[in-house]
Subunit: 336 residues, 2 copies
């Protein structure tokens, strides 16, 4: 435990005999980076803004990746052997060179590897190198990992083409159901007053053929990006909890979509299945449904930064077992 | 019949004893305008580009409305008593003043009224002042017309919130089904090769976890506006015609959506039901389904310009009966 302190005092320069890595979890809202040694001891932590080039744009994303990295290095004077960058859709590897170049410009000469956030989510929960991931947040994706490498994906192809069982998928159905109810062409549902509470501030046009409630929903939904329909997903969980049949049906459909996606990848084995994303919270109907289908195999994902850290250790050939992961979690939390 | 010729020679200036109107059908691609006299004789016709402010922007839309109007007036020297502008979503009436002002700037001082394209579609097929409309094109809407006024709408609230049974609704399901098939998490369907033929030119990223076919679909779909998913709708009709079960199921769902929407408006009476939009073509499965549900009541919509013309005559108090509509159709066609 004193190792981290020594590095931070600045009395030792350089890396000593230890290898070090940085793991980065670059998301659409925040970027988090952790510096750790080869035993899994986390030594430094840094945060910055949006780090995903798809949503933030390439320049801003790389800048935020650099900021988080430099913040994690801090005063330690450690040059990591590798930076492991994990980000949504980070499968094309074209994000490695821009970050390596930008870090070199900032005086940090290090190798960079990139992989997807499905990998960091998986390895946040387990060090077992072969297993599966099911994620449902704004989007939804399933993955198969074999010997620490991404081996297969199902869905995760975005709100317009797929993302079955995601927050968008659910929220989209919620707001459509409310609109149909308001227009009198769909069943009455407890979702409608919940949606109206969200859209009530919208202005009305000078028109009186449609109900004003319908206009408010239209103004709200078309005034935002389509993917923001995910904001209505929590209403399905609330309405289903109070027995609304339509909300229950929507969540059953979401679970069926997730089971179909992961079922196309998951083998009839005893490998772990990591559940990630805000909609697969413990005790919720979707995670309960997955646990019922795959009893004894489901683990809840933790902080993706921990998974990125473990992937970094794997990549430099350090031990990356359950003890290492436990040490990462134990030493990362106090830094955050 | 000679009346039109006389006006066009320019030997008579002004309107004589006749009232005249212009009907405009302003669409997302083209704007068409017709000048006619109070008996329903069409005297002049003009075309221009996109005339719907929602898709083309307000300035361009108004310019194209003016161009089509001036082209319809042509050398006739007739000042119409009224311009009846019909356009999608034209229920807020805020489009009347900009067109009236722009026409006055161009030297044509005339009153302008605005109504929705559901009205022009309905009155393109019948002069009966009370009845119903079911439209399925890129979007889908149902309407109830009472005494020549729009009395109620169902759906038509856009691709993200509604448009059940529309080209978008169908095409979206087609391309999602193809993606699920390609990923091995959905049934095999004849839709997939049809979609692939459309997306085959798309470039591929440097990534090998997903099948290249999946990437091609993603690049195509996310490279265009979401509503352009309507381009895949015709594939459902083709695949269903050759017996594909999934395509058949999609079209059955579309028909169910249309029946639900119009069923929320249509009374148990014998009023006409006008079928409009490219997907309700004669002999197709959707129009057949509607005719089966409402035997003997369904009429196919014609050119919306004719409906706008009839609405213009109604608005100035001229006769607007079946004979008038027949005369509009008979004299409009040779001008086009």
């Amino acid at each position: 435990m004193s190792l981290g302190l020594v590095y931070y005092t600045g009395t030792l320069r350089g890396n000593g005999d230890m290898r070090h890595v940085i793991g980065i979890d670059a998301g659409g809202t925040a970027t988090r980076a952790v510096l750790l040694d080869e035993t899994g001891h986390c030594l430094g932590y840094g945060r910055s803004g949006a780090g995903n080039p798809t949503s933030a744009g390439a320049r801003l994303a790389v800048s935020n990746q650099v900021i988080a990295t430099l913040a994690a290095v801090g005063q330690s004077a450690i040059t990591p052997d590798l930076v492991m960058l994990t980000l949504a859709g980070g499968l094309g590897h074209e994000s490695a060179a821009p970050l390596a170049d930008a870090l070199a410009d900032a005086g940090l000469h290090t190798a960079v590897e990139v992989t997807g956030d499905v990998m960091s989510a998986y390895f946040s929960a387990t060090a077992v190198p072969t297993g599966y991931l099911v994620l449902s947040g704004t989007g939804a994706i399933s993955a198969r990992i074999v010997d620490g490498e991404l081996d297969g994906l199902a869905d995760g192809i975005g709100w317009l083409l797929g993302d079955e069982g995601s927050g968008f998928w659910i929220g989209h159905r919620v707001v459509r159901a409310a609109a149909a109810d308001l227009e009198g062409r769909g069943p009455t549902t407890a979702l409608t007053p919940l949606v109206m509470a969200l859209v009530d501030d919208e202005a009305l046009p000078d028109e009186d053929v449609r109900r004003p409630e319908v206009w408010k929903v239209m103004r709200r939904v078309y005034g935002r990006r389509p993917v923001e329909c995910a904001e209505y997903a929590p209403l399905a969980f609330r309405a289903a909890a109070s027995g609304d049949p339509l909300a229950t049906e929507i969540l059953e459909g979401a679970l069926a979509g997730l089971l179909t996606s992961c079922g196309s990848l998951v083998g009839d084995d005893d490998r772990p299945i990591v559940l990630a994303g805000g909609l697969l919270y413990d005790g919720g109907p979707l995670s309960d449904g997955l646990k019922e289908r795959y009893p004894g195999r489901c683990l809840r994902a933790h902080d993706g930064t921990a998974g990125a850290a473990l992937l970094g250790l794997r990549a430099v050939g350090a031990a990356a077992d359950a003890d290492t992961l436990a040490r990462i979690h134990a030493t990362l939390a106090p830094l955050q």
